[in-house]
Amino acid sequence: MTTEFKDSIETALHNPNLTGALGRFSEAYRISRAKAYEGIDFEAVRDRIAEVKGNASSRFEELAEQFKANAERRGAKVFRTSDPAEVKRYILDLAKAQNVQAVVKSKSMASEEIHLNKAFEQAGIQVDETDLGEWIIQLAHQTPSHMVMPAIHMTKEEVAEVFSQEVEAGQAPDIPKLVKFARGKLRPKFLAADMGITGANIAVAETGSLVIITNEGNARLVTTLPRIHVAIVGIEKLVAQVADIDPILTALPRSATGQLLTSYVSMLSGQVPNTDGSPKDLHIILMDNHRSDMVKDPKFKEALQCIRCATCLNVCPVFRLVGGHVFGKTYTGGIGTILTAWFDELKKSEDIQGLCIQCGSCVPVCPGKIDIPGLILELRRRLVVEQGQSLAMKAIFGVVNNRRLFHSMLRMASVTQKPFKQGRFIRHLPLFLSDMTDFRSLPAIAPEPFRDKIKAIAQPKQAEKVVFYAGCLIDFAYPETGTALVKILNKAGIEVVFPEDQTCCGAPARYSGAYEVAAQNARDNIKALLETDATYVVSACPTCTVALKHDFLDTFKTLGITDALGEAQRLSDRTIDFSSLVKKLVDEGRLTFKEGQHLGKITYHDSCHLKRTLKATDEPRELLQKAGHEIAEMYECDTCCGMAGSYSLKLPEISAPILERKLKNIKDTGADKVVMDCPGCVMQIRGGLDKDGSPIQVEHTAERLEDRFE
């Protein structure tokens, strides 16, 4: 990571206006979005969008030509280009030929993408943004921090100051007055402009129509008053037919601003009369700029299904802390990372891809059905392929791929950690490592790992066997979680088998983009875990469960490894997470809860992988309730705790405030215990509460249930 990038994160985190505004917005957004979708089948709508836009992107060339023919038949001039420089040249040539003195623009991300305003300024042509947020940004000489709300990072005081400095002195920080002021100042500009520039939200090939969606009404003025209209449209805006507008128009306002519909939607198809009765000079620029390269990439093609609603920014725990500017100049947030890598270059995403904590919060709410964290991971992988791992990372993964070495180092660590260890925690590490223990204590490596402990557990021999995959954290830091699991499964008449050769699940390597390392981990584990004939392979770590169930397969497929796919599938079919397995055993009558227990109030934290990939949210809750607990739900129970594997090591400055928020939500419930299914979350949350000196106990569901069965 460059120091410049780290500095921009620091600056963002220390801007209380930014984090305050974004935090409040992200809370209000969840509610207004949910309300706007009442009575709407979101899954059906986004299936349609994915279908409509997925089909369109497979046929870009054909649709672009069809659009061009239809729009030109109706009097438009359509210019197709893949080169941003040509877009600018076309517009400037047109402006010169038509003697254009002044230009007004409504919001267009495509024009931001090619830095059009700068080109106008260099040519000495006055250009004014008219969307309020864009105008503020233009006056402040900044770039948009959010696709829908470009100036969301600024307070009314800052806006008043910009207006006072750049337009007219003495503006007060009063929002209605500032809005009126903008109306008053921009109105003459609309009336005086010779050229209006817009983007488009949708372009319909069969009719040559542009659909423009706004709230302020500026696009209506921009397309009505100036004698020339230029629309800059990325080809990903193309859809085949008029019927395809409906799902996009259903989702975009609801997802973007929590509205059923924006104040204005305009469908422009060809020339319309100017105010003097002459036909409008209409130019539509269909811009490619690497979009058709994305179509050819089987992984990234789906990113073209994006409708630019910015939901993935609004729900992102990282975005709400750092805002948009750390991501770059045009597209921000999760999808912005992906678009920057393509529209700009892969290298440009090198730093920003690391911002994604892989929590998956954006996935279920994306109207384009885009696997945003999955694609960011793919960027990470390609960056590693292109540039190689850093030396330090290489050394680490070299160890991880050698189980014996790795495990003996962990054992050694349990001895060498002594100077830093107090009880079960490491509270301080020296020097540069201190970042890791700055905001939470780390668990001490257990004196006896689970792999040794299990040998001492006297299990009754049973016909039915289940293989236990512990994962590094349970094996070496929290062996008691494993002991609890064994005890519970024994009660159900199951013998737990622990294959000694199991090793790291490969998630750290995979999430760092080191897929080759992850593939070797996968091979070693598949061999170890399939050796025993067992009904299930169970894990009490959701990240490991996801690795066994999904990631091994995906890693092989991505690398083109075919010989191991069959075995990987067998392992996947057999794999189950702890809570889902226990729930099954309870349902089958093989485990019975002790009756009449009143164990008091607890709160439950949903781990990212368990909730969003394994989709087990009810299972642990039901078990805990049946055991005799009352669950006091915390606010944002399914928001990431900030751990995310090595993320908290790489970006502790972001991980820390995410954790802080989580701790506050836990404390606010008044419960004296917080339970979760992931040892990684246990490590983060327990460490944070310990640092705080809080008496709240943190437990894995397995430990909480250990003594609850007959």
Binding site: K156, L221, V242, S266, V272, T275
Partner: protein
């Protein structure tokens, strides 16, 4: 029919449109004239109203209106609209589900009166309220119409601190006059 109207009214009111319903054009006209006087429409520069004629005035005549409320002009130009207080036009369809008005706005006059003045008064027949977006698109087809305008409430922004503010570049008030019987003229 009336449930469609009520759904429309609820949705439109939720986005700050002001909806009024009348049995006949005659009653609607009386309301409009009263409204124009109330907001101070007059011949004083900057206080005029611009009105794009439609079937609403058939059999009534624009001259009648102009005589009742001085300051109302039926000659819609860019200059007149830019200084008018009120713009009046007839809308083609409405969508109950979202409280939206829809119009073939290819004629530039229709766009001028609904974009420039601070108040837009929209007239529409009750039977023109349809259930949803698709029903409207079957009647106003982008294949044939070059500018279809959908209007849902007045102009708004939330660009500063996410605080909703009504009336930025477009009208700050949207008055919707819904008329049940468009046929009979009693005036």
């Amino acid at each position: 029919m009336s449930t469609t109207f009520e759904a429309f009214e609820t949705r439109a009111a939720a986005v700050s449109a002001e909806v009024h319903r009348f049995a006949s054009r005659h009653e609607a006209l009386a309301f409009i004239e009263g409204f124009l006087r109330e907001v101070g429409v007059s011949e004083t520069p900057g206080s005029g109203a611009v009105w794009v004629e439609g079937s609403f005035l058939e059999g009534i005549g624009s001259a009648h209106v102009a005589s009742q409320v001085p300051g109302v002009s039926f000659e819609v130009t860019r200059e007149a609209a830019a200084v008018a207080k009120v713009g009046i036009s007839q809308l083609d369809w409405a969508i109950a589900g979202t409280g939206t008005l829809v119009q073939d706005a290819t004629a530039v006059e229709k766009r001028l009166v609904s974009t420039l003045p601070p108040i837009h008064l929209a007239v529409i027949g009750t039977e023109r309220i349809l259930a949803d977006f698709n029903s409207v698109l079957q009647r106003l087809q982008p294949e044939q119409i070059n500018y279809i305008a959908f209007i849902t409430g007045p102009s708004r922004t939330a660009d500063i601190e996410r605080v909703l503010t009504i009336g930025v570049h477009g009208p700050e008030r949207l008055i919707v006059v819904v008329v049940d019987d468009f046929e009979k003229v009693t005036a």
